[in-house]
Amino acid sequence: MGLQQNDMLPLDGNAAGGLLRELFALDLTNAEITCGGCGASAPIGAIRVYGGTMGAVLRCAHCDTAVLRIAHTPAGLFLDMHGARRLFVAMPP
């Protein structure tokens, strides 16, 4: 599953949008994720993503903790969230 053409530089959570939409019913690029390492919050779309074509490793801009790790393998999609404390998705009532 290619997130990017060249694995050299990190992209961001926008590039992981399609991967996340495979699992979640809503777009998550606008969701605010709180880092379990340092407590900083940021929209997923703004967060650096590493891992190239192996998977998506979203890392906190302040402390580099991996807040989300995703790999889509032939068996299915793995999501490791233990580096995140909280996710907030704005929804109107």
Partner: protein, 256 residues
């Protein structure tokens, strides 16, 4: 409560499950020697917002598949999506899309994807768009949307290209100026004879001179190679723009 402001709330109606659709190439437009736009026909296209992207999947006749993401260049329009692709050296997918592909060819597409890096007229402005290389693509969708809806939102595009011949959508951008829309080019590597425009990489001074004052609370969208995006975002924060008004999208490296 999280300290975000003016965050577009997710649509309460869950969008349909993202699925692969077949797109047919209707028209191929050579934008620059390395960049090409593909006008695609997809009758099932659910519509999109400026700034969103799609995932493209190609299948070879032996079943081999490759997948990449591309920003949508066109403003919302039923049944039609335009992608602009830069042909990267050694690019498995881009060398096909910006090379061999011709009208009538088909491939798979899923989308639209993204809710963060999105501008809709209801978000208002002013609008400051900062583009590096092929990062101009989603920003062009925003600019085209701004013009199509004919709002009076002031909009400025600051666009960095390697050379004059590398400016994507050059003719269209030449005609766009006026009615509250400003286009500023900077050419970072070579400039044509007689060039009187900017000729250096985007920096803090250029952002300050071409953008809007923080007191005007512009919606800022930055798209391009990772180092350029991160430097520009930092400079704009240092200039006093609220971080929540600065949206970023990092593209893969363009022409090192």
């Amino acid at each position: 409560m999280p300290a975000t402001e003016a965050v577009p709330a997710s649509d309460p109606t869950p969008p349909p499950r993202l699925r692969w659709m077949t797109a047919e190439v209707r028209e191929v437009i050579d934008e620059t020697p390395r960049v090409r736009s593909l006008v695609l026909h997809l009758p099932e296209w659910p519509g999109h917002k400026a700034g969103q992207h799609v995932d493209v999947r190609l299948t070879a006749d032996d079943g081999y598949q490759a997948q990449r993401s591309y920003s949508i260049a066109s403003p919302p329009r039923a049944g039609m999506v335009t992608l602009t692709v830069e042909r990267l050296e050694d690019g498995e997918v881009s060398s096909y899309l910006a090379g061999d592909v011709r009208a009538g060819d088909k491939f798979e597409l899923r989308g639209p994807i993204g809710g963060y890096f999105v501008w809709t007229p209801v978000l208002g402005g002013p609008l400051f768009l900062v583009a590096g290389g092929s990062g101009v693509v989603p920003l062009m969708a925003m600019l085209r949307q701004r013009i199509a809806t004919n709002t009076n939102v002031p909009a400025t595009l600051l666009y960095s290209s390697r050379s004059f011949d590398d400016i994507i959508y050059r003719a269209e951008l030449d005609e766009i100026g006026g009615q509250g829309v400003t286009v500023v080019h900077t050419l970072t590597r070579t400039q044509p004879e007689g060039w009187r425009g900017l000729s250096r990489r985007i920096d803090r001074a250029m952002l300050e001179a071409t953008g809007f004052a923080p007191s005007e609370r512009p919606r800022i969208f930055i798209c391009g190679p990772t180092p350029m995006v991160e430097a520009a975002a930092r400079d704009l924060r240092d200039l006093g723009h609220a971080p929540s008004l600065i949206k970023t999208e990092r593209f893969g490296p363009t022409g090192r």
